[in-house]
Structures are given as C-alpha cells and as structure tokens.
C-alpha cells in the first residue's frame, strides 16, 4: 500500500519513501509517532466509510489465509484474486476515509496503526476461516464459500446503492467495485450450489457452515445513528434497506443448492461499532506486526 488515488482525478507520483513520509507528514503530536497507534477524529462520514473499508480489509485477509490450502490449485488462484480485489477496494476506501477524517492519515496508517476498537468491520469477517478453534469451529472450505456468498451479495448491494452517493469519490469507488463484486457473487454462488447439491458429505458440511455463519448476519442489517446520518446526507444506504434484496438473492442460491435458510437468531454482533469478538486481536496482531516493529516500512 504505497500509492493513493482519489477521484475524479489526482496525480500519481512515483512511489514515495513511506518511512520519510511517515516521519514527516501525518505524525503531529507525541502520541502519533511512527509505529504508534493513530486515533480518529469525530467525523461520522469517515467512520461510516471505515465500516465498509474494514469489512473489505479483514475479509481480504481471511480469504488470503487460504492461499496454498484450497482443495484445487484453481481455487487458490480464485481466492487470492478475490482477496486482491477486496484489498484494492479497501485501499481506495481507506484513503478516502483518511480524507474525510481530516487529519492527514493515509491508507497505511489507517490499515495498520489503529487500535482494535477503532476498526468497524462486521464481526462475521473476523471469524477464523482457515484455522478453527473450540470457540469458533469452521475452517472448512464450505465456510469460505458460504461466508463469501453472504458477504459478496451484501457488498454488491452496497456498491449498487453507493453508485448514486452524494460523495463523488465514494460513487467512483463503488462504480468500479460493483463490477468486481458481480464475479465474487457468481463464484461463491456456483460453489455453494456445487457443495450443497453435491454429495452427502459436501451437503452436510455446507449446511454446517451456513448455520455457523447465519447468526452473524443480523449485524448486516442493523441500523444505528451513523447509518441514519449516512442516509440523511445521501452518503449511502441504511443497512436495513438492503435486507430484502439480500435475502431474496441468497435464498435463491440456497434453494438451488438444496440448503434451507437457517432459523433466525436473536444474537446481534457489534463489530461495526468497534466491539469485536476474541478473534480480532489475533488477526490485527498478524496484520500489524511489521508496521509496529518497523514503522513506515514498505515493500
């Protein structure tokens, strides 16, 4: 993550040495020295965009953990390609969130130097996807495809709605991302059908994966004051408004896959508000380690 881009246009400069930039630029105040945590301003718009940015970022990280572990080589390639798209979307959103935040924070600082409570991704994306634990079973290939279906449909509905955002940069990012999301949705849907309508074993595992993921989907459609503000200012959609279309699209795939929509749960996760599950700290430790140990380091 070394370059930034804004819309409608900005000048692409040669890759700048981030060490020098980190030392010279955003780091006013002792609490924001290189490698130290950055804190956010109170911008509601920045926070709202970070919800989407962080969901893309953490989902990309979890998918990338499957590199080299897919059941077939083609799937390694597919998952890393999906991950790369999501990371690209996250970069654009993080850069934009940094501008809305108004403190001169760049994409790298936002990606690597926030504390856990300042990440606003959906709790679903931080759940282990490769290495399961007693607290969070999963780690099955079926979990990858089911989760990606639920999220890709949700993200695509966001991108479609954001195409008419009052924020031109957000609309531009969405205009690109919606094209990519289409392939993400198709890929996940094809696998969910293949697994659900496959062998007894694959169907049982797809069903288990769906039941593991489902309780976390309530959070996808819970509004709060930030969503209300986003809708009122034309920034983006209220989450609750996306539920009907999401359920219709997901249900259509599940029907084709001979999988039943799981029973509703009362559990509502809270990652979007910065209150995460026990897995978030571990994923951040892995993602942030290099930036914390070697502040401002770049490839």
């Amino acid at each position: 993550m070394t370059s930034t881009m804004t819309s409608p246009s900005t000048t692409a400069t040669p890759p700048r040495p981030a060490v020098a930039a980190g030392l010279a630029a955003g780091v006013s105040g002792a609490s924001r020295g290189p490698g130290r945590s950055v804190t956010l301003s109170g911008s509601r718009e920045a926070r709202w965009v970070l919800r989407l940015a962080d969901t893309c970022l953490i989902h990309a990280q979890r998918l990338s953990e499957w590199c080299g572990h897919g059941p077939i080589l083609e799937e390694d390639i597919a998952l890393t390609n999906l991950s790369l798209d999501l990371l690209g979307q996250a970069r654009a959103l993080l850069s934009h969130a940094g501008q809305l935040d108004g403190q001169g924070l760049d994409e790298d600082q936002l990606a690597f130097l926030r504390d856990e409570r300042d990440y606003f991704n959906l709790t679903l994306v931080e759940q282990p996807l490769r290495r399961s634990s007693a607290h969070a079973p999963g780690g099955d290939f079926a979990d990858v495809q089911v989760r990606n279906l639920l999220l890709a449909v949700w993200l695509k509905l966001h991108w479609q709605a954001l195409a008419s955002s009052s924020d031109a940069e957000l609309a531009a990012i969405a205009g690109k991302a919606v094209k990519e999301a289409r392939y993400h949705v198709e890929h996940a849907a094809q696998w969910v059908v293949r697994l659900g309508d496959g062998t007894e074993e694959s169907a049982a595992r797809a069903k288990a994966a769906l039941e593991r993921a489902w309780p976390y989907t309530n959070e996808l459609f819970v509004d709060d004051e930030l969503d209300a503000h986003a809708a009122a200012t034309g920034l983006g959609p209220q989450r609750s408004a996306l539920r009907e279309a999401w359920l219709a699209a997901v249900s259509a795939v599940l029907t084709e896959a001979t999988l039943a929509v799981p029973a509703a749960s009362k559990f509502v996760s809270t990652g979007s508000r910065g209150v995460h599950s026990e897995h978030m700290g571990f994923i951040l430790a892995e993602m942030q380690h290099l930036q914390r140990a070697f502040p401002g380091g770049v490839w």
């Binding site: 999501l86 609309a171 094209k179 289409r182 198709e186 795939v253």
Partner: protein, 172 residues
Amino acid sequence: MNASTSAAACTDAAWAVLDTVPDPEVPALSVRDLGIVRDVVCGQAGTEVVLTPTYSGCPATEVISDSVRQALDAAGYGPVTVTLRRAPAWTTDWISDEGRRKLREYGIAPPGPVEPEAAPGVATIRIRPRGVDCPRCGSAQTERLSAFGSTACKAMYRCLACREPFEHFKPI
C-alpha cells in the same frame, strides 16, 4: 505552425508512443488497445496522460504508470504527468477492435459485451458459466476449467473440439 497545430501534432505523436507501451500482464496488447488511456494533453510544461485503472486491486497499475512515463520521456515528450481517473470505471467494452484481434491471435478469447447490471436492489446471480468460443478453432464446444486464471481478469477454458486449453478475458 501555430501553437494549436503543434499541440495537436504532439498529442498524435504521444498517442503513437502509447501504442508501443505493452500491458505488463497481457503484453500482446498496448495500453492504448486496452482502453485505459483516457486522455493525452500536450502543454507548455510537458505531457499529461490520464489513465483509468482496470481492477481495484490490479498490481499492474503502478507499473503501467511508470512505463507510460518512461516511454514518453524517452520519446522526448517529458516531463510527463500521469493522472489516474477512477470514474467512469474501466470496462472491457473499451478494448479496441484491434485489441480484440490481437487477443484472439495471442490465444486469448476476447470479452463479449458486458451484460447490463440488474437494477439496484435486485441481485440476480448467474449460476452457470458463460459460453465462450475457442480463439483457435472457433468452436462453441468449450468448457470452463477455472473462474480465475493467471490474473483476475481472465478465466481458464478448454476447447472440446480442438482440445486446446485457452484463456478468456472476462467481460467486466
């Protein structure tokens, strides 16, 4: 020659230079064939090139910016400013006819027209892979092997008639 005709001549020449800059991931195509060069402006202070990146996560974007800058510099049109423009988003519909011909010759099935998006709020999902004609023998009897290939923009197919595997540049 007045200033405006010399600027026009410079612009034409700069476009011609861009015809020689290959896309790093599909070197059969120039960046101009690919349709990512949106504008070239010759001015007193040098040349400005406006590029629209292909994919959000495309790792080639920075390489392409550098190649464009170097090629125009070397041809004497520097200093070069490369500007990235995100909207409107790049689409494979912008690949030129010449680009499509080069892709086919290179063994890559070119993208068909992008299917229109469903209305917002309506999520329709394609469950079956697209049918693609073989770029070698033209047969429609092909099957998809993988939704993604060596890059995000391509899928892997196999021709059931001539038995050759091939790549397909996906419409996006």
